[in-house]
Point group: C2
Chain length 414, copies 2
């Protein structure tokens, strides 16, 4: 019998209790022994059948020698970090769905787990119920992973899908997402890209072996995407997705990492990922492109990923897995202005034909796009591949010629 | 240092040697120790830099106490089975890419591994380089898996993609696949669906815990799909894919399992899987639908899956994992005629309007399909959901009325 404690009886925490209860028989078969939730930490009171398990005092869990696994589903950095540290130092395994904490303190917590011969697992922190962390770590072990790209945030993907499939504007799509419970009242963490940024940092740290910090990663949200941009993306033959990506630069091992909206071609495996679904593409040197797809959030999917981690620990107690990356205080990411890529640019161009010639002069290889009912004073084109700094210089030069930048969205080629 | 032997220096076996060599540094980091190919068994001579490792005598491997892992990439049942048994009995771990053997003898070999405290791993047997076996086993451990459906054969998927995207007929698409090396000179195992059948049997055995035997699974290939069927599928809004699927029947735990061409709606995550790619959808009770996508075959993808298994063993030597299912001689599949589903039917119908009324009389809920330049004497419709036996009775009744069955393809709703 493995006894666990759950920190935080919110959406994911209560889901963990539910999955452990509902899937008892398959869990027993796979873990080799039954798993029981012994304690639940929450400051609130809940009217649940198992309310005798609730406690408001973390010490009840920490001091309980029977509890070998602590499930941390509190979210936020504090006190989740302090509780995790305390549990690991007592040799208790910690399983978390807390991407904010893993992205900020992963290396330190993994190191602590190693020192105390226990585990710090975080499958549920990326991609909800989609297995990503473990396949990446175990199954792709024989590959050098060069690149990762994903749709890692279901809220923004829901909004973008509504904008494309139903012609909604951003504000209406957001408010529908809020009504359906897919977006929070303060949607910033999702729509500004921070959530996706934390997740790509976790994946990049795991793939490349050193902590990639969210504050070093250029992150742009989807709030400025206009219906006009949607129409140009469609006429180009693709969609706009919020793409989080990381690539190891061959020359120096630095990491090119960014979160931004991107034009994705219709043929891409990422283009068809719609609604609240997530998808992650991993590019290995032997296996080629592998894509994992599924529900990236939600109570039961996320809870089932947490419970899978618990089962893995229950199966081989007392061992510490090699899942780890190195602490790294320095910035190992490439500066944004050095990153190279193609971009879609939309301008307000009062002078018509003149504007087009100006663009052609500045961007030798520009490809012009059109859309239905395109106004005469609007111009859209693809810049061709160049460094971000070069593009910015050219965009500044356009502004000098009275062409106003309305929109600029990167292209990706997954 | 972990020393391994490779049985069979064919496509996959030589790929294993290559991956172990090329990715030394990442393998060392992930396995915690270096991995070396000490011996390679093959009856042929090869002019390779490591030809001193070649042997024609399996005893050189079996008797060598330094070799702790045997990689079996010979294919076929004999002598692969006997060699695997001998290795496991000596406590050597066996890693295989041999789907035929796993589908036929998986339960027995897994049991033998357990008894001798070693492992029998087979990640590479399904989906080439796509991690499927381990994510299914480990990461979805907290789910009751109810259903699996997949495009598990790259050759047939390449052919079907050519038929849809370039309007080729089956014979031309097959011969192009052969020219490109995607299909063998005798393509039966692929185009008749046997390869996909072995793979779905492995996945079903793992998911449902008992050996599902290929000979009990109704298997239909893609050889009879005509360009007309392609056009009807397109006008319906979808594509035809060779879909291998397995579902556990709630009432009695029997397994509904089949391999056949199927109409897949354009919105399905399986519809966009084109060319030699594979995709597997797993439906869990907590996680919902999860899809894994990638190259389902090929030297390096498959070899990297083999090496990932080797690394997993190297990381925790001397332990036996719970990966297993029970031997089961009886037939645990549901008889095909009891299976229920919708079907597309195409008829030669010389009597025009009369024929339509006959179909409406026999199939109350039939939905008629059309295609460009549809001949007056051709009729196509969707039957509505019914048991296979009922459909067959109705099709026989149609024949009685001089309507000749030209084609019948099942619909799936993934």
């Amino acid at each position: 019998m493995v006894k666990i404690a759950v920190l935080g009886h919110g959406v994911v925490g209560s889901g963990v209790c539910e999955v452990v209860e509902t899937n008892q028989s398959s869990i027993l078969r796979r873990a080799g022994q039954p798993i029981e939730v012994k304690r639940i930490l929450d400051l609130r009171d809940f009217d649940v059948p198992y309310r005798d398990k609730l406690t408001k005092d973390f010490q009840d869990i920490l001091q309980d020698e029977e509890i070998s696994i602590v499930v941390e589903t509190m979210g936020g950095t504090h006190p989740a970090y302090e509780y995790s540290v305390a549990a690991l130092k007592r040799g208790k395994n910690v399983v978390t769905s807390n991407k904010e904490l893993v992205a900020a303190k992963g290396a330190a917590l993994l190191q602590l787990a190693k020192e105390h011969n226990c585990n710090y697992f975080f499958e549920a922190s990326v991609g909800g119920g989609i297995p990503i962390i473990r396949p990446m770590h175990l199954c792709l072990a024989a590959n050098e992973i060069n690149e990762i790209a994903g749709i890692l945030n279901g809220t923004t993907n829901f909004i973008l899908t509504k904008m494309f499939k139903e012609g909604m504007d951003f504000a209406s799509a957001l408010s529908q997402a809020q009504e359906l419970g897919y977006a929070e009242r303060d949607p910033s963490a999702d729509v500004e890209g921070w959530d996706a940024c934390r997740k790509i940092c976790i994946l990049a740290s795991l793939a490349f072996g050193r902590q990639v910090h969210p504050e070093h990663v250029y992150t742009e949200g989807i709030t400025r995407i206009a219906p006009e941009d949607v129409e140009y993306a469609e006429s180009w033959g693709g969609v706009i997705k919020l793409i989080a990506r990381a690539r190891r630069r061959e020359e120096d091992g630095l990491v090119e990492c960014m979160v931004s909206p991107a034009f994705v071609h219709g043929e891409s495996q990422l283009a068809g990922i719609d609604g609240v679904y997530n998808g992650v593409l991993i590019r290995g040197n032997a296996t080629g492109d592998v894509v994992f797809y599924g529900k990236g959030a939600g109570k039961l999917p996320t809870a089932s990923a947490v419970v899978a981690d618990v089962i893995d620990i229950a199966k081989s107690p007392g061992t510490s897995k090699s899942l780890t990356w190195a602490e790294c205080d320095e910035n190992i990411t490439v500066e944004r202005r050095e990153l190279k890529g193609d971009s879609y640019v939309r301008l307000s161009a009062p002078e018509g034909g003149m504007a087009r010639r100006t663009v052609e002069r500045l961007f030798g290889s520009a490809v012009f796009l059109t859309r239905p009912k395109q106004p005469a004073d609007e111009l859209a084109f693809l810049s061709g591949a160049m460094e971000e700094s070069a593009l910015e210089n050219k965009l500044a030069a356009l502004e000098q010629e009275n062409l106003t930048l309305l929109s600029r969205i990167r292209l990706v080629d997954y």
